[in-house]
């Protein structure tokens, strides 16, 4: 039970969540679920544990199952822990035509892991994803909110070195956090 009690948004995340809920008509607060799950994922280590999802359910006054069924449907929500930097490489048609498979192989060799795995030091998780709408600048990968495009092996090396050294956790959420409305 102690574990559950510890889960609470920071002051600024709480304020943002309240602003988000106000975007929808009275009685429609469930509409805030996806934005709040993004926020919760950013706040609580890059993934959604069951206590985290229960916490979001309590904020929106909905049943926990309503959160689980949504979190498990959308591919951006991680239901298991991930490394500090979640590297998501697109491999759908247009990216594949421009060499995505070679890029994936290169990252696997460089990090010493296969897709879906996390490096032992917890710095990187490698994931392959479906089309991210960057076909004209393929091959590409996403890390947090950032798109890295027109990739070559050299660019990948440079990026991974930089990300590994920074020690920062990648997050999709920097945008909503800065939002003032």
């Amino acid at each position: 039970m102690n574990e559950v009690e510890k889960i609470e948004f920071s002051k600024e995340a709480k304020a943002l969540s309240e602003r988000i809920i106000k975007r929808y008509p009275e009685g429609r607060q469930k509409s805030a679920l996806l934005p709040l799950l993004h926020l919760a994922q950013a706040e609580f280590g890059g993934w959604l544990s069951v206590p985290t999802m229960d916490y979001v359910a309590s904020i929106l006054n909905i049943k926990p199952i309503e959160v689980y069924e949504v979190a498990s449907f959308y591919s951006m929500f991680n239901l298991n822990p991930v490394g500090n930097c979640l590297i998501e490489v697109c491999r759908t048609g247009p990216c594949m035509l421009r060499g995505a498979n070679d890029i994936i192989e290169h990252i696997e060799n460089k990090l010493g892991i296969k897709e879906g795995e996390t490096t032992p030091d917890g710095k990187f998780t490698l994931k392959t994803v479906e089309c991210l709408g960057s076909c004209g600048t393929a091959p590409m990968l996403q890390c947090g909110a950032d798109y890295h495009e027109n990739l070559t092996n050299e660019k990948v090396d440079e990026l991974l070195d930089k990300l590994g050294a920074s020690g920062k956790r990648s997050s999709y959420m920097w945008s909503l956090k800065e939002n003032n409305r």
Binding site: H38, R98, G133, G136
Partner: protein, 452 residues
């Protein structure tokens, strides 16, 4: 040079800011509509323009607007579909990133016409940095009095919000999008009722693609008749095309509908020809869902007429020898590409993105992915090709939403036009085990060898 209606200011420094956008004529359509036109007059211009939905289906936008239940006492909503996820399509992202105020201006003018006082832009979650750009632009528009209460001193008020998705292709289907916006799984709804009657929160709702809403701006500014002068027949105006694959200049291009496909691929103004001096093998002209066509059929119709970038010309010949303009996701494959390998990525995509609601799609997409995977990797059986055709047929038309069709069409068309390549994979399993098989030894039709 082709006329540009959406991207004419794309290279103006600072065009993403309110001040620069305004100085370049931005928000004129809001002033014109709110101060000198009734909501119905705005809709009449959209009808006259012949504008068709730019998300892929190509349904006339003005007609869609006219279906909105105006007798209902419930609030009305305009929801912008910015869940761009069709492989090969990235035009909406480009437009929102470069000229966010164009979308916001279109949202205000369109919301006014539809009588919506709250509107949402549903953006795919992966475009989080684009969401930040839009939110900044929306703040600027509020500060300048173009959003909020009593816009420009009129009686009209509008609040505009951006909603992030969670990573699901299916949410580009309008009823799935509405489910998602209500905080649920993105399962498409049974229709009717259509969103125009019972959409968001069971209220009358119009869902339009980003590019469609942006096009309302030039339509209101110059008038629908003027807009309709561009293009051919029922394909009016300009269209954003996302060009990718084996071409020299991938990117987003605004074309006048009616441009010859050949010119689009080979002219320096657009794709700049095939990369590395290679020959073209095939084109997917309208996003991953539409039928793939071999070079001869994408450049000319089966009747021998020049193929044009219009809804009608691209679909000439039906699915036997034609395709669709779709979302304008234009993917070019050169002679070293493997049709089966390329198709496998699409089959995997649709399997991954099926919402699981209808069994023909949930099960069929998985079967197609597995069978194509084994053919591609040299484990194909005799009979697999016919099995694929059979599965595709059983999905098509048997699902609640068009994702099933979208998964079936690429498979059926690849086999229709490139059956020999599939047969090659089954005949020479050792050769295709190297994933770069056709780069090492480009595929040559054995039929053509015999006839030569």
């Amino acid at each position: 040079m082709a006329r540009k209606l959406l991207l004419q200011h794309e290279n103006v420094p600072g065009i993403n800011t309110f001040d620069v956008y305004r100085k370049n004529g931005g928000y004129a359509s809001v002033e014109k509509a709110l101060k000198s036109m009734t909501p119905d007059e705005v809709m009449e211009e959209v009808k006259k323009s012949g504008l068709r939905g730019r998300g892929g289906a190509g349904f006339p936008a003005g007609m869609k607007w006219s279906f909105l239940d105006r007798k209902s006492e419930k609030p009305r909503y305009l929801v912008c579909n910015a869940d761009e996820s069709e492989p090969g399509t990235f035009k909406d992202r480009y437009l929102m990133e470069k000229i966010p105020h164009l979308l916001i201006e279109g949202m205000i003018t369109s919301s006014y016409s539809l009588g919506a006082n709250t509107s949402y832009i549903y953006v795919r979650g992966e475009y989080m940095y684009v969401i930040r750009i839009l939110e900044k632009a929306i703040e600027e528009a509020y500060a300048a009095g173009f959003l909020g209460k009593n816009i420009l001193g009129t009686n009209y008020s509008l609040d505009l919000f951006v909603q992030p998705g969670g990573g699901a292709y299916i949410c580009g289907e309008e009823t799935a999008l509405l489910e998602s916006l209500e905080g649920k799984r993105g399962n498409p709804r049974l229709k009717p009722p259509f969103p125009a009657i019972a959409g968001l929160y069971a209220s009358p709702t119009v869902v339009n693609n980003v590019e469609t809403i942006a096009a309302v701006v030039p339509i209101v500014n110059q008038g629908g008749d003027e807009y309709a002068k561009i293009g051919i027949g029922k394909s009016t105006g300009t269209k954003l095309i996302s060009a990718s694959g084996h071409i020299n200049k991938p990117g987003v291009y605004e074309i006048e509908l009616g441009l010859p496909v050949e010119e689009f691929i080979y002219s320096e103004e657009y794709c700049g020809g095939i990369w590395k001096g290679r020959k073209m093998k095939a084109v997917v002209a309208g996003g991953s869902s539409v039928p793939i066509l071999p070079t001869d059929l994408i450049l000319k119709t089966a009747k021998g007429e020049q193929r044009l970038m219009t809804y009608e010309s691209l679909s000439d010949g039906g699915f036997v020898s034609g395709t669709m303009l779709g979302s304008g996701g234009f993917i070019v494959l050169d002679e070293t590409a493997c049709i089966v390998q390329h198709l496998h990525t699409f089959a995997r995509f649709y399997h991954h993105e099926s919402c699981g609601q209808c069994s023909p799609c949930r099960e069929g997409t998985g079967w197609m992915e597995k069978v194509i995977h084994r053919i591609e990797h040299g484990h194909g059986h005799q009979g697999d090709i016919d099995l694929l055709v059979d599965v595709a047929k059983k999905i098509e038309g048997n699902t609640i939403c068009p994702l099933g069709d979208a998964a079936a069409w690429p498979v059926a068309s690849a086999i229709r036009h490139f059956r020999e390549e599939f047969e090659y994979h089954i005949k020479y399993p050792e050769k295709v085990k190297n994933p770069k098989h056709f780069e090492l030894e480009p595929f040559v039709s054995e039929k053509s060898l015999v006839t030569a």
